[in-house]
Amino acid sequence: MSKLGVFDLSVRYGKLTAVNDISFSVAEGERVFISGPNGAGKSSLLAAIAGEVRAAHGRIEMDGDILSGRVPEAIARRGLSMVPEGRRIFRALTVQENLMVGVGLRRDKTAVPDDLEAIYAAFPILGTRRHANAGALSGGQQQMLAIGRALMTNPKLMLVDEPSLGLAPRVVDEVYDRLCSLQAQRGLTLVIVEQSSARAGRVGGRMLLLRGGRIVADGDATAFAADDLLKEAYFGEATP
């Protein structure tokens, strides 16, 4: 059984169709990049999976349990966590408070202190600044906080939307290094929206290429990175 199954999913905003009849599945422990040009429907797809946006039609399943039609908090409680676009950290809360917001859904409350220390071990800067206001962190630190905050819910599946947005390339490398090692440690399943297919190719994994709300290619990210398919997806058919 696949971890995540998306069947004939469409998302519409009024007359605009952002996601058009998409189907795919993600296996347990897999790392899947969703790439494509602006407006391809990447973020809408993630938002629909997390329950932030209601699908116009289609079905979403995780571990055979139907997610579509449920409210976001119910989906989070089934083990799906989101690192959203723009990070959306709680700026007026301290770093540690940010990390603690998502533990309310956990049944294994006794494991929370150890998990908190594990996050601080993975992101030492968060530990140093645990009592600082989250709004005072740099962009890269906020990205790490958003990842740590999602991990504190102890998810089985994590959706990460544009983790490299607005960060210096060196910081992006660091974010991906941490994400990959955390995935290996925890056996997480990761679905990552990454605008830069070159970046996805370097990190490695499977890649779904979106364009105009549809999946136009599905394969190995590293092999894709150099492929013509990409140029076509981004720039349309080459004109002579």
Binding site: A50, E52, V71, P72, E73, A76, R77, S81, M82, P84, R88, F90, R91, A92, L93, E97, N98, M100, V101, G102, G104, L105, N133, G135, R149, A150, T153
Partner: protein, 302 residues
């Protein structure tokens, strides 16, 4: 004389602060300006007396000892607020803020008319804890016992609320939801629980104001929530919408300004005290349109 003014300012400002907090809490989590808050206060006042349209009020719950009466009235306020949320605001959860605001006006009218039907329109004299009116000597001034109790209670309520918001799980969830409700839900925070919690707290704060008003004025009047709601709403705007410390600070500032103007204005200008007060409010808003304490989340970061 000056000490008396200080006590007046603290007790009046404290009431404004508690009322403003009741509005700011709900605005914080669901961007609703609840104009029915004044009627929540009036409802809690009338819950003290036996429903009847007679001119003379008969104490019902109001006759109970304070240890029973205070928690019971707080529960009445919280219960009314939670019921309002469930019956009126929950079905409108995805409506526009304007629709929510209009609904809150409508709810206020319904509650007020319900009180009119049950209790009649004439103000009633009720005497709650009359022994507290006695003055006590304090630092060389004669201060009514009641005023000291009001000030202490306000400070206790503020401290309890601060601890609850800072230390409890629901408090953390409320603060997170106030900043970004969608994100809090993505982290498993239950929208219904947080909103119901905010309404319950707001209703209990309305009931606190009700007890203080009744003890101070000795009157139950169907319209009594309206005036304080107006001042409290202004305090939340001056404080910065959504900022709880701002609401408290602005509540105290408005109370202090009222008392100071009352004392400082020449006799013939005193009837126009509120015009001066609101003139000050306009001045503050011209200088700081975002309020004295804009919520930290509202500041952009590059």
């Amino acid at each position: 004389m000056t000490l008396q003014l200080l006590f007046d300012a603290l007790s009046l400002g404290g009431i404004y602060a508690i009322a403003a907090l009741g509005i700011a809490l709900i605005f914080g989590v669901m961007k609703l300006v609840n104009f029915a808050h004044g009627q929540f206060i009036a409802f809690a006042v009338f819950a003290l007396i036996v429903p009847s349209t007679d001119a003379v009020a008969v104490m019902g719950l109001g006759a109970a000892p304070a240890l029973v009466l205070v928690p019971a009235i707080l529960a009445v306020g919280a219960g009314l607020a939670v019921a309002s949320e469930y019956l009126v605001f929950r079905p409108l959860r995805n409506a526009s803020p304007v629709a929510l605001m209009v609904a809150s006006f409508a709810l206020g009218v319904v509650i007020q008319n319900g009180l009119l039907v049950a209790y009649g329109g004439r103000p009633k004299a009720i005497s709650l804890w009359p022994e507290l009116g006695k003055p006590v000597a304090l630092l060389g001034a004669e201060v009514p016992m009641l005023q000291i109790i009001v000030i202490v209670s306000v400070l206790v309520v503020l401290a309890l609320l601060a601890v609850m918001l800072k230390r409890s799980r629901i408090g953390l969830e409320m603060r997170a939801a106030a900043e970004d409700f969608g994100m809090a839900r993505l982290l498993g925070v239950r929208a219904n629980a947080v909103i119901a919690g905010a309404f319950a707290l707001s209703g209990a704060l309305a009931a606190t104001v009700a007890l203080v008003l009744v003890a101070q004025t000795g009157v139950a009047d169907v319209r009594m929530g309206g005036q304080i709601m107006l001042v409290a709403f202004i305090a939340t705007v001056v404080g910065g919408m959504g900022s709880l410390p701002g609401a408290v600070a602005a509540g105290f500032a408005l109370g202090a300004a009222s008392v100071a103007l009352q004392a400082a204005l020449p006799i013939e200008a005193r009837p126009f005290r509120d015009a001066f007060l609101y003139g000050l409010v306009i001045l503050v808003l011209l200088l700081r349109p975002q309020g004295l304490f804009a919520a930290a989340s509202a500041k952009p970061r590059v």
